[in-house]
Symmetry: C2
Subunit: 266 residues, 2 copies
Amino acid sequence: MPKFVTAFSNTTVKRLRSLRDKKARREEGLFLAEGLRILAEARDMGRLPEIVAFSSAGGIHPLAATIIAETEAADGEVIETSADILAKMSGKDNPQMLLGAYRQPATALEAIDRSKAPLWLVTQALRDPGNIGTILRTGDAVGAGGLILVDDSADPYSVEGVRASMGAIFTQQVAAARWEEFLPWLRGGPGQLVGSSLKAKEDYLAAKYEQPCFLLIGNEQQGLPPEYEAECDLLVKIPMAGRADSLNAAVAAAVMAFQVKASWRT
Amino acid sequence: MPKFVTAFSNTTVKRLRSLRDKKARREEGLFLAEGLRILAEARDMGRLPEIVAFSSAGGIHPLAATIIAETEAADGEVIETSADILAKMSGKDNPQMLLGAYRQPATALEAIDRSKAPLWLVTQALRDPGNIGTILRTGDAVGAGGLILVDDSADPYSVEGVRASMGAIFTQQVAAARWEEFLPWLRGGPGQLVGSSLKAKEDYLAAKYEQPCFLLIGNEQQGLPPEYEAECDLLVKIPMAGRADSLNAAVAAAVMAFQVKASWRT
């Protein structure tokens, strides 16, 4: 039976709440996911939380009850609590009635088997965790194998990142590396490195994309550094019809990824 | 010469700061835009702020000086202030050193001349102002004429919306309407209403898009209501390769808009 916890000072409440901070996430190796939909997605992928907090105020969905029971059976910790305390943990006024703390998988580049998918997304120094989560979600939609975070990156395991991923944090493999590590790894096997650049001559609709394709997305403010562009096997241009000279990073990733996929269908 | 203002209690400071709230924006008819890049974009479009606040702590860019001078010449109000006070106004720790309050243009549907662009974006009950701003930015990039916000929508003139638009709030026309107003207006002229739906049979890559094309994007949580889908002249499916059954709203808008545009190029 879960403990019923009403105190903000409770150790588990404090521990879950601390996972909104990057430092605590790194130390604990855990991250927060919220809501039945995402926890069910995790379960479908064979992942159970180490800690679950829930409120039964509005009734408990049978699937939530299953996740709670399985977490207990696996020696996880389960607490029942109030909507107020769940709101404190998630930082939202209208919190989900179920949240879980999951172990962060290892993010070594070496764990990636590039033969498992025709497309991999690679972001460089992305700042906005919401963009990272959105790119994970897009990766899932296009059948990418995962996301490689190059250089200093916002945390995909932040609450905003996990939320924006809509469950894709559990379906997409995530790796992190410096550019100096990524490049030798990439060149150690087959793979076309594709970047988009305003300076490129080749139109993104006319280019030939090879498998596995590694799609490189630059930082929100600066785009790709010139020396990173120079390493690309293919640089393409997305024509811009208006006054702006760039797209939102998650939008650019999606437009490119869907076009790469479309090019393989014809 | 601009007044130098150091007090948070200063009337203009309080007025600018209040524009972070929707109610104040509606009452004043103004909105905030931050940063030289966006203010310069506005100026290129023939728009000057009614109020400018700036800090000269890090020096003043010549273009910023021009905007300040032109605002004064047009009887606008200009205050020089501190980075601290600019931070309070923008709600950011690292604020831009220049911000302006602009008059909101009218958002009547009747002001839209559909013959002016081949593509128009239409969102339904979008909740996230960041998505709306990102969609405006995408609209600029694909040469759309503007964005029609159908039903209760997050505010494109919110700080988050303006920020995400990266200046497109000044280049894209914005209209707002109830569905019951939008539909008769749409049917009063040429226009293909296009929605995307998981239930659709036609692939988005194979569909024939007509001009002017009105691309309808549904709410983040629910997607398009069935009765709205039923009104579409064309319903297309974006194939989903993974486990997720939907894309982020701004991503869906971009993937569709770029495909519509691509289909006209071939």
